[in-house]
């Protein structure tokens, strides 16, 4: 079996995953107590009103029927109405996903980009001060609640130092760039609006740090321990014996080997961040999907819960897929051995 076949098979396998996920989530959303209809209609609603909306939404039908209806709709792009926003969940998510995606991707990028040098330095200086310093810093990053970090960052960088903007994706009066991808960083560059790009970037800075600290720490620790393992490998000694520069050995030879196992975690982290960015989104008033998802949970907005979870699920699956792809790129053994 070639690597490509393997990937195709992986892709095919993700279909039942998404399907299973949707069934499970659908069940869960129906099992959770609380009456969404009453909530949607407000406290003054009469029984008659409640019954009417219930029927309209098909909530009076048996569960399998409800699921079948829902699935039928989903296939046609109709993800059901959000009880909270009265919009089609699909369009609600489409409106919010880019913000979350931008945040998550940049966060991941930031986390990995910083984790690499930290991990390499810590790993190649095991048990020296560089190692202790980056380990302790990393652990503090892991151990601090995200929203807490977010608030502290705001107090320090916005209130005290006045360096960065407080919240949102853009400053007041800065118009969003023409929508192409709806990722402001990308769109502003496409449109050549560098001012907007800078503004969007400065707005991203604090949320990214708050969100990414834990991931950064985890990835850094993994790279560290893998670098330590790699250091004992003969090929590293061999490369030294040939007189290759240390930086080349560390960042090209060892890192590529060491990074592969962190890759799984990075992939999982992407899905995780996608679904768990909400606390940071809340603190930074980031108009994203995670916040919407939590709202949906709180208000038992069935369709929205299912929709968001499925998008997150697709995120997970895609990330895992990309990880596999990268695996093959980074480590030919995977590519060759899958056969």
């Amino acid at each position: 079996m070639s690597y490509v076949d393997y990937l195709v098979r992986r892709a095919i396998h993700s279909v039942p995953v998404i399907f299973g996920l949707s069934v499970l989530i659908f069940l869960i959303s129906r099992v959770i107590p609380g009456d969404p209809v009453r909530l949607a209609l407000g406290p003054e609603a009469t029984d008659q009103q409640v019954a009417a909306l219930r029927a309209e939404m098909g909530l009076d039908q048996p569960l399998p029927m409800q699921y079948a209806d829902w699935l039928f709709g989903v296939v046609q792009g109709d993800w059901g109405m959000s009880l909270r926003t009265n919009n089609n969940v699909f369009s609600d998510i489409v409106a919010r996903l880019p913000a979350t995606l931008e945040l998550t991707v940049v966060t991941l990028f930031f986390a990995v980009l910083l984790a690499i040098p930290f991990g390499v330095v810590a790993g190649t200086n095991k048990d020296r001060w560089q190692d202790h310093l980056s380990r302790i810093t990393a652990l503090f990053g892991v151990s601090m609640p995200r929203f807490w970090v977010a608030i502290v960052l705001q107090i320090v960088f916005v209130v005290s130092l006045g360096l960065l903007p407080l919240s949102g994706r853009l400053s007041d009066g800065v118009a969003p760039p023409p929508a192409v991808t709806r990722l402001y960083l990308v769109d502003s560059l496409i449109a050549g609006q560098f001012g907007t790009f800078l503004d969007a970037a400065t707005h991203l800075l604090l949320p990214t740090v708050a969100l990414g600290l834990a991931t950064l720490a985890q990835v850094m620790r993994l790279i560290r321990s893998d670098m330590i393992d790699e250091q004992r490998k003969d090929y590293v000694l061999a490369a030294r014996a040939y007189g290759l520069p240390n930086t080349l050995i560390e960042y090209k030879y060892m890192l590529q080997n060491a990074f592969t196992s962190s890759l799984t975690v990075v992939g999982l982290a992407f899905g995780f961040l996608l679904g768990n960015a909400f606390l940071v989104e809340i603190v930074f008033a980031w108009p994203g999907m995670a916040r919407y998802g939590v709202q949906a949970i709180l208000y038992q907005d069935f369709n929205a819960i299912v929709g968001v979870t499925i998008v997150v699920g697709i995120g997970f699956v895609t990330a895992n897929f990309v990880v596999d792809l990268l695996y093959g790129y980074l480590d030919p053994r995977v590519r060759l051995e899958e056969g």
Binding site: M1, S2, D5, V8, R9, I12, G339
Partner: protein
């Protein structure tokens, strides 16, 4: 289970006569083909014929040596015999039982009769288990006595392989290669198996340790009458330990015979090339071995075996017939056969050989 089943059988076994008419191990036309899969739905797309029709037998208490180039299928032969990989076809009879036919449960129970010692002592021992639990494992699996009896047996085995008893509490990582291999041997013989496959048991060790290990193995064999299949590519070693040897090339035995006959007059060009490459430390040996023969030419891909004789691409004696059909094993002495057309009376090229 009764302890007596395990108590060391008398050394009477040492008195056995190496009787090939009533062999301990018989391998008949053993084949192991590894399928190659392709495509999304894993369609079979060919196979590697790692072992392709191997037959030989070993008498009780005898050591049968298997040599050959790396990749020729020695390990696969040994593993298929013990059903560590399922043989594709063939018969393997050990102590009168056809191993290939055993059900899973029977096989598990039968394993106490057949064991293996691997080439690499480090990787064949679980790094997280202490020596004691490594050696104890087969005893536990096959319900050997209570914990006291097992402890006693472990101590006995450690004595047998000449390791201090307190090594019981060490981890493999704390042992040297030779010590680890002794642990491997102790584990393999813990249940007094009838047959042990030794897959290059000393190739990771240096000569002084190797000599010790070989001595231990021989002593154990003598005492308990164990039958060995000894896989190696060290010919000098084989000369010293084996009673009979088989030379493998690309999944087939190309020469089988009594060790002295084969070393004295190798009857297959490949055997001869092998013998010629032995490194020696004395002039005497230098003279005893054939002149250096360098093998040129491509080593064939085991996935696409060439027609006719597999060795012909590298053979200095190759002639037309070699490409047409595969030679059979020709009788070359009282206990020596070789798979080469040079010994076929049909072709006159045979003269070239002597």
């Amino acid at each position: 289970m009764n302890d007596s089943a395990y108590t060391t059988e008398s050394t009477a076994a040492a008195q056995r006569d190496r009787d090939l008419d009533d062999p301990m191990v018989t391998v008949e036309n053993l084949k192991k083909h590894f399928p190659l899969f392709e495509g999304i739905f894993q369609k079979k797309a060919g196979e590697v014929r790692a072992v392709d029709g191997v037959s030989f037998s070993i008498a009780e208490g005898e050591t049968f040596g298997l040599v050959g180039e790396s990749g020729s299928g020695k390990t696969t032969t040994g593993r298929s015999m013990l059903r560590l990989t399922e043989p594709t076809s063939g018969r393997v009879e050990i102590d009168g039982k056809n191993v290939v036919d055993l059900s899973d449960g029977e096989l598990k129970r039968f394993r106490r009769n057949m064991q293996i010692v691997h080439q690499d002592p480090s990787s064949s021992l679980n790094p997280r288990h202490r020596v004691k639990s490594i050696i104890e494992a087969p005893l536990k699996i096959h319900d050997y006595g209570d914990s006291e009896a097992r402890l006693e047996r472990v101590e006995e085995l450690l004595d047998m392989v000449d390791l201090p008893r307190e090594f019981m509490y060490r981890y493999p990582g704390q042992l040297s290669g030779g010590q680890k291999q002794r642990v491997g041997i102790a584990r393999a013989v813990a249940l007094n198996p009838k047959f042990v496959v030794l897959d290059e048991p000393t190739s990771a060790l240096d000569v002084s340790v190797q000599a010790r290990i070989i001595n231990i193995l021989e002593e154990i064999q003598e005492e308990f009458g164990i039958t060995y299949l000894f896989i190696t590519h060290d010919l000098s070693l084989l000369k010293n330990v084996a009673d009979r040897i088989g030379v493998m090339y690309l999944g087939r035995l190309v020469e089988v015979g009594d060790v002295d006959s084969v070393f004295g007059s190798p009857q297959h060009p490949y055997s001869r090339a092998l013998l010629s490459a032995i490194s020696t430390i004395s002039e005497e040996d230098e003279l005893a071995k054939p002149d250096r023969i360098t093998l040129d030419g491509e080593v064939p891909d085991p996935r696409e075996k060439p027609s006719g004789c597999a060795f012909r691409s590298r053979c200095a004696h190759e002639f037309d017939a070699c490409a047409v059909e595969e030679p059979e094993l020709y009788e070359r002495g009282p206990d020596q056969v070789a798979r080469c057309f040079l010994h076929d009376d049909r072709f006159e090229e045979g003269a070239e050989w002597e």
